[in-house]
Point group: C2
Chain length 133, copies 2
């Protein structure tokens, strides 16, 4: 399971496992902190290099967020995210892909649309309850 010209090192495989084993859409730094508990002298550069490599291979998805740091997602299927502005957590949304809006833009404007980004922001279920108290 290695692409030509690439090797599956223990660092890369650990990083992949960490991403696949969480639903928290972690940042590079989260991955680094976790990885150090298994390979203490792993370097942050190696984490970034492998996150990029894994994203290029299509094994994980990079969600590079406005302003702040990128997050990574082990679920590469098409889905949208909701970010809670109170606790900072990112939740998966079970919405279907709105492919028709791409067509709308193509028809109205004449640009050829390759992708769209759709993200939701607000207060999550849990934080909403806490705010009321």
């Amino acid at each position: 399971m290695s692409v030509a010209g690439t090797r599956l090192t223990k660092q890369k495989s650990l990083i992949l496992d960490l991403i696949l084993g969480t639903k928290c859409h972690p940042t590079a730094d989260w991955v680094y902190q976790e990885a150090r508990q298994h390979i203490p002298d792993i370097s942050l550069g190696t984490v970034y290099r492998n996150l990029n490599a894994l994203a290029n291979q299509g094994l994980i998805r990079e969600m590079n967020y406005a302003g702040s740091s990128s997050r990574y997602d082990g679920d590469v299927s098409q889905h949208y995210h909701f970010t809670c502005q109170s606790c900072g957590n990112v939740f998966d949304l079970p919405l279907e892909a709105f492919t028709m809006i791409d067509n709308l833009v193509e028809e109205q404007e004449g640009h050829s649309v390759e992708a769209h980004r759709l993200e939701f922001y607000g207060t999550c279920k849990t934080c909403k309850i806490e705010e009321k108290q």
Copy 2:
């Protein structure tokens, strides 16, 4: 036309004029380069400070893009953008706001949605023609 505790300096007023006078969704650095032609010793810090202030006052809109630098928009009405991955230009889209998708997420997930971001990526009309040649 000044908010209590704020002053409309010649720097701030120039920066606002520059943003309002272009449709190119400029970056802070573009604003800085333009501003220097009118106030040669204006500093980049002042540009950032005023861009943030103007955005907080609701006079301009900040579009902080994934990965790269923020862009600013003098048109504060609700509208979406298309970014050409070939020439880098950002175009306005005359689409209506999809407010119903916010409701969909609220109903399905129980989070309270305050806003969504929707951006389109692809190849613009002009670059599409150039690629064919």
